[in-house]
């Protein structure tokens, strides 16, 4: 647990609730996810291999290849751009992950705490394709598990992680626009279901 636990304050989710929001449709569940810690990891110029090996020993698995995501134990990571990744872990046990990751990679990489910058919605169910193809121009029907696509939904830059093609995805977008992204997901779900 973190060292700031006795503040008496109650955190709210990106949508503003005390509990993550869940919207259920026939064949689709949209679930707000608020329990992941995030940190970005960028390799400094000429240090790409050093970051990859340091991160691999910290995470217990290799950093994902371009346009993909992977997980090993409690950690998950996705590729954001050339020499840039986002690392994710359960918030309760890894609140200070950014600091630990920085210690692991040292001067070879730059780490930025990102937990409160993003909101995440997990969508599950057999209607995923119908909803996602109305929201973004990622080729979701041709996608496979492990794909991580940076695309746009509702004019917002988002990451789309495929956990199970057609069944299970995570959508990660900017936290300050969580309401708009949620609206887009729900509106698309209502229009097809």
């Amino acid at each position: 647990m973190g060292k700031f636990d006795n503040h008496g304050l109650k955190a709210i989710s990106p949508l503003g609730g005390h509990e993550p929001r869940v919207d259920a449709f026939t064949g689709l569940l949209i679930r707000e996810v608020a329990d992941r810690a995030l940190a970005s990891l960028a390799a400094r110029q000429g240090q790409e291999e050093a970051v990859k090996s340091a991160a691999a020993s910290y995470l217990g698995g290799a950093l994902p290849a371009p346009a993909s995501w992977s997980e090993a134990g409690v950690y998950a990571a996705w590729w954001m751009g050339p020499d840039l990744w986002m690392v994710s872990a359960p918030h309760d046990s890894h609140e200070l992950m950014a600091g630990d990751l920085k210690q692991a990679v040292g001067d070879a990489g730059s780490v930025v705490e990102q937990t409160d910058g993003w909101c995440r919605f997990d969508i599950e169910g057999p209607r995923c394709f119908d909803v996602l193809e109305r929201l973004c121009n990622a080729n979701v029907r041709a996608g496979k598990a492990g794909d991580a696509t940076r695309t746009s939904m509702e004019h917002l830059g988002v990451f789309l992680l495929c956990q199970e093609p057609g069944q299970k995805y995570a959508v990660i977008g900017p936290r300050s626009s969580a309401g708009s992204l949620h609206h887009a997901l729900v509106a698309a779900a209502k229009s097809v279901i």
Binding site: A67, M80, G81, P82, R150, T151, S152, G157
Partner: protein, 95 residues
């Protein structure tokens, strides 16, 4: 129009934004004797070719990488796409 991203493969051009001539990579040395003249040319003078043109595109709705796209301005055919950082480093720009 489809831009064949060097890392991500073919992507719709609506994901990209356009900056301009790739000659913008060759930023003049601000400490040169004639820096003012060089910066005047750098800022204001552009070629406007009917044919092959090297230009900077930004993958804004994608991986946020800058690209150097070689495009035929007459036919809009895209002939080559490179990562701008590779082009810049090959030209001695390493920052």
């Amino acid at each position: 129009m489809i831009i064949n991203h060097p890392i991500l493969g073919p992507r719709d051009s609506q994901e990209f934004t356009y900056l301009g001539d790739a000659a913008l990579i060759d930023r003049p040395d601000w400490q040169a004797e004639n820096a003012a003249d060089q910066f005047h040319d750098y800022l204001y003078l552009r070629d406007n070719p009917a044919g092959e043109h090297r230009e900077l595109w930004f993958h804004e709705q994608g991986d946020r990488s800058w690209l150097v796209v070689t495009r035929n301005t007459v036919t809009h055919e895209i002939l080559n796409v490179e990562l701008a950082r590779d082009v810049a480093r090959a030209r001695g720009r390493s920052k």
